[in-house]
């Protein structure tokens, strides 16, 4: 049961009643607004959610329009047959433009995608199939039994229905597992891989989603204007779409809709003063980026936080929202039983790692028994974090072998090791900062592989069911770690100590058999350090093996059962804490050697 503001139904009513007030030209502009909004939502998904700087969105829009134009006007297909083919073509082009994203990101991807968009526009202008610079005319209207779709007003309602569907799809995706994983990948692709997300697949999925929406809008555009020419899909439109997404608020579907309406309406009102219109939305883009990087959506949420205005709202039962009633609390995810008891949970044999000539790890070997709390210490630059990155698959070792529960996992990628039961935290806190506390845990808790998203097409209700189940389990875990109070708070707004605990909660959510903690005590107060020690013991108590890197000697000596000491990439001592602390090599590594004294005198 959630309270839905009166805004949503009121807006839908207005949009349905709108055409009655609009003359032919205004209706035509309103339809254009909705079409641009659909394309902009596609850009919002790939760029706002997926974090991919895609400057070729106008090309996907153009592919949809031209494919349906060529199929219907030139080859005489029935428009309803040509439409799905055109949308498929747009998705295919999106996939091709997405391939470079597997290798290059941010401004590199920006210029590559922009270059491909320019190339697309020049192909349209040159190819005879696409009618050269004068484009393709006489595209047949969409035939519909009983409804004349050449009439602007009927077409308005067709596009409104499609827009409502697209918006629902976008909200459904961004609110559930697929959207959450895209946003996690956007916030920190390294940490996302560490919780099991296959980055390449999700980057391509983001592009295909953008292609899908671009294609849908392209088909509708072709049959509305019944004429396509290269200039419609050039750079001007790309920057207009970009302005919509940026001014709207990059990951907010609603923000993009509002921005689309404002910008296209402004373009229509300033039709006579073409240069001022361009000046206006150029300045708007700069202003938004400098003063309101989160766009309209950001401003809206900021104003709402400061002005607790009692918006009129009506209770509406919605199954998958956070249910208030305390249903039977499902058990918190408990670490998986290691496959077979006895053998060491983690065994590292003679591992070395070389970075351009510098030997960060030199033949390191250690064994951690199942269910043991094992500490790794050593002065700065001794290779501790490098060892963690090798065990968790971020780095592939230059030599030696890594075994997990007896199985050889040398060289496996981060998301494969995550699936095999390895979970980790990071030295400098790699949380998904624009996701809420609950979502950070949900991303790790959801173990489905990428292809499981086929459910979105085959059984969306099953997606909702799994969502409800996962939310309950995540809440239970948050309650265990005392974080349930801040469940809906953005991770970035949490105090430092709670952020550290959230990172541990995220690691536990994946039901790991092995937990790697990288300096969990850094910056914690004495009280928080004791609470941490208690949490580590509880993790081990639930059956997981814990490996801890830590500088805080008090914590290490108190919690760890065995310790390995690293210096200059080599193991210089190992054993129980008391033994290690008195080992001559360790003292020298930390406190420095006496030799300097004789020579200095």
């Amino acid at each position: 049961m959630i309270r839905v503001g009166l805004g949503k139904p009121a807006l839908l009513a207005v949009l349905f009643a709108l055409p009655v007030f609009l003359d032919l030209y205004k209706a035509h502009v309103a339809v254009l607004i909705m079409l641009y909004a659909i394309v902009a939502i596609g850009l919002c998904l790939v760029m706002g959610l997926g974090g991919q700087v895609n400057l070729a969105q106008a090309a996907f829009f153009g592919t949809g329009a031209y494919a349906s134009a060529i199929l219907t006007a030139t080859y005489g297909w029935n428009p309803w047959l040509a439409a799905p083919a055109a949308i498929l073509a747009a998705c295919a082009v999106a996939l091709v433009v997405g391939l470079p994203a597997l290798r290059v990101q941010s401004h590199y991807l920006g210029i590559v995608s922009l270059g491909l968009a320019v190339a697309f526009a020049s192909v349209l202008t040159n190819a005879t199939l696409t009618g050269g610079a004068s484009g393709i005319t006489r595209i047949p209207p969409l035939p519909a039994p009983g409804i004349d779709l050449t009439d602007e007003y009927n077409y308005y309602y067709l596009v409104l229905v499609v827009l409502a569907g697209v918006t629902a799809l976008a909200l459904f995706v961004s609110g559930t597992t697929l959207g959450r994983r895209l946003r996690a990948m956007r916030d920190d692709s390294l940490a996302a891989a560490a919780v099991g997300i296959e980055i390449p697949q999700y980057r391509l999925m983001a592009f295909v989603l953008a292609g899908l929406l671009g294609g849908v809008a392209g088909v509708l555009y072709a049959h509305l204007v019944r004429y396509v020419s290269p200039d419609t899909f050039g750079l001007g439109v790309m920057f207009l779409l970009l302005a919509m997404v940026i001014i709207g608020g990059r990951d907010s579907v609603w923000g993009v809709l509002v921005a689309a309406a404002l910008l296209v309406a402004a373009r229509d009102l300033l039709i006579g003063l073409q240069t001022y219109q361009q000046l206006v939305y150029g300045a708007l883009m700069v202003g938004t980026v400098v003063f309101a990087p989160r766009g309209l959506a950001g401003v809206a949420s900021a104003v709402r936080r400061r002005l607790p205005f009692p918006w009129p709202s009506v209770p509406v039962p919605l199954p998958w929202r956070r249910s208030a009633e305390p249903g039977p609390a499902p058990p918190a995810p408990s670490p998986r039983r290691p496959p077979q008891a006895g053998g060491p949970a983690i065994a590292v044999a003679g591992v070395s790692k070389r970075f351009r000539g510098v030997l960060a790890l030199d033949g390191v070997s250690l064994e951690v028994a199942a269910g043991e709390i094992h500490g790794i210490i050593g002065p700065n630059g001794s290779g501790k974090t490098t060892l963690f990155n090798v065990v968790s698959g971020i780095y592939q070792p230059s030599g030696g072998r890594v075994l997990l529960h007896g199985r050889d996992v040398t060289g496996r990628r981060a998301h494969e090791l995550s699936r095999a039961g390895v979970a980790r935290t990071f030295q400098n806190l790699r949380l998904f900062h624009r996701l809420t506390v609950l979502e950070n845990v949900l991303v790790a808790l959801d173990r489905d592989p990428a292809y499981a998203h086929a459910r979105y097409l085959l059984g969306p209700w099953s997606v909702l069911r799994r969502e409800r189940r996962d939310r309950a389990r995540a809440l239970a875990l948050l309650r265990d770690l005392g974080l349930d109070g801040a469940a809906d708070e953005l991770a970035v707004n949490l105090p430092y100590g709670l952020q550290r605990r959230l990172e541990i909660a995220r690691a536990l959510a994946a039901e790991p058999s092995v937990v790697l903690l990288d300096e969990p005590a850094a910056g914690l107060t004495a009280g928080e350090q004791d609470a941490l020690a208690e949490v580590i013991r509880r993790i081990r108590g639930a059956g997981a093996t814990v490996l801890v890197i830590e500088h805080n000697m008090a914590l290490v000596m108190g919690v760890c059962e065995r310790i390995t000491v690293l210096a200059h990439g080599r193991v210089i001592a190992a054993g129980r804490p008391a033994e290690v602390a008195h080992d001559a090599n360790v003292v020298e590594a930390y406190l420095g050697s006496e030799t300097a004294r004789e020579e200095a005198v």
Partner: protein
């Protein structure tokens, strides 16, 4: 969640609403009341071909001011609204919708054949007469009875030009470069058809795009065939650039082509020395051809402070044809009645004798001219 955004979306929708109502009231009537006759001029006022828009506006306005001074169309004044299609066909289609909701009696537009072509389906289905300064044969091939050309088509231009070059100047080694928008394709197809009729094959036939700026690779192939004449099928600025780059690549051929080469824009872009000796075909070569052109030139210079050229004259003639047709068809100026009236009358204008056939072609002859010392002179 995000309720505030809803209100913002509501506000946006309301704004479109208000703009809508505003639109509702301003629409003029095409019918028989004494309300003013609304003429929408859709032209290219920005971008590379922005000159075309301003010349068309000057010619049409001059004709309308003249008519309004003499009481308009039996008492009804003619009002002229200006829209910029930015040389882009898509914007043209949007503005065609605008003209319909303005309930315009007629539309003067656009200057570029590509944009005019895009607007024909919309305006024809709304039965709004449309007169364009485009010359592409494809416009007449649309089979609409609501479209008219204010001068002649590329076919006529190029027949005259090809006959002159091959039969009078005995030039048979001719290279061709044209762009692939509607105008360029029209010029290319007409000129090539006439050459084949005269059993002449072009030494090389290259196609470029309307917004291309660097023609080195294409002109290198032209130079290899060392042609006597180079036919260029493109708008004013592009024609000038091609000519300039051809000379810089050492091509000595005489430049030849259609109406664009008779304009000051071509001269300024190519440079007077490059344009020297150009042979072009145009129905309006210079202002002191006869008494009628001298009077027009004086009025034009008084109104705009610059000498008129072909496009201004075409627009002046085209508008006057329609004004004459309105006087004949009034008081009912509905679309069908107006187009029938245009076809019924004959009009002697600056460019020659106008008699419109079913397809929309009114002018059937043109002249040959050349550029001597930076000035267009008839041959």
């Amino acid at each position: 969640m995000r309720r505030f955004e809803w209100t913002a979306a509501l506000a946006a929708a309301a704004m479109v609403l208000l703009a809508g109502c505003g639109g509702q009231l301003a629409g003029g009537g095409g019918g028989t009341s004494s309300a003013p006759i609304v003429v929408d001029l859709i032209g290219t006022f920005s971008g590379q071909n922005a000159d075309l828009g301003s010349w068309a506006w000057n010619g049409v306005k001059l004709a309308i001011d003249g008519a309004n001074a003499k009481g308009g169309v039996n008492g009804r004044k003619i009002t002229l609204q200006k829209y910029d299609d930015q040389g882009q066909p898509t914007v043209g289609t949007d503005l065609a919708q605008r003209a319909i909701s303005d309930r315009a009696t007629m539309v003067y537009g656009s200057d570029l054949s590509t944009v005019s072509l895009a607007m024909i389906p919309t305006l024809t289905s709304a039965k709004i007469p449309q007169i364009t300064s485009g010359q592409a044969p494809a416009i007449l091939a649309q089979g609409s009875s609501f479209i008219f050309l204010d001068s002649t088509t590329s076919a006529v231009f190029d027949q005259t030009l090809a006959d002159y070059l091959v039969q009078k100047q005995h030039i048979t080694s001719i290279a061709m470069v044209s762009n692939n928008d509607a105008y360029g394709k029209g010029e290319h197809d007409s000129f090539l058809a006439e050459l084949t009729k005269l059993a002449v094959t072009p030494t090389v036939d290259k196609v470029v795009t309307p917004d291309q700026k660097d023609f080195t690779s294409v002109l290198t192939e032209v130079r290899a065939t060392n042609p006597k004449a180079l036919f260029i099928g493109a708008e004013e600025v592009e024609t000038g650039l091609i000519a300039k780059q051809a000379r810089s690549l050492g091509i000595t051929a005489t430049f030849t082509g259609g109406a664009p080469m008779g304009t000051p824009t071509y001269l300024q872009t190519a440079g007077a020395d490059v344009a020297e000796g150009t042979i072009m075909t145009s129905p309006y070569l210079d202002n002191d051809a006869n008494a009628k052109t001298r009077a027009f030139a004086a009025a034009y210079r008084k109104a705009y402070g610059q000498d008129p050229e072909l496009h201004g004259a075409k627009a002046y003639d085209g508008m006057n044809v329609f004004i004459a047709a309105m006087r004949k068809a009034q008081p009912d100026l509905g679309g069908q009645r107006l187009v029938d009236a245009v076809r019924a009358i004959e009009y002697d204008g600056l460019l020659g004798h106008f008699k419109y056939d079913e397809r929309g072609l009114g002018l059937h002859a043109t002249q040959i001219g050349t550029i001597k010392a930076g000035k267009v002179t008839p041959i």
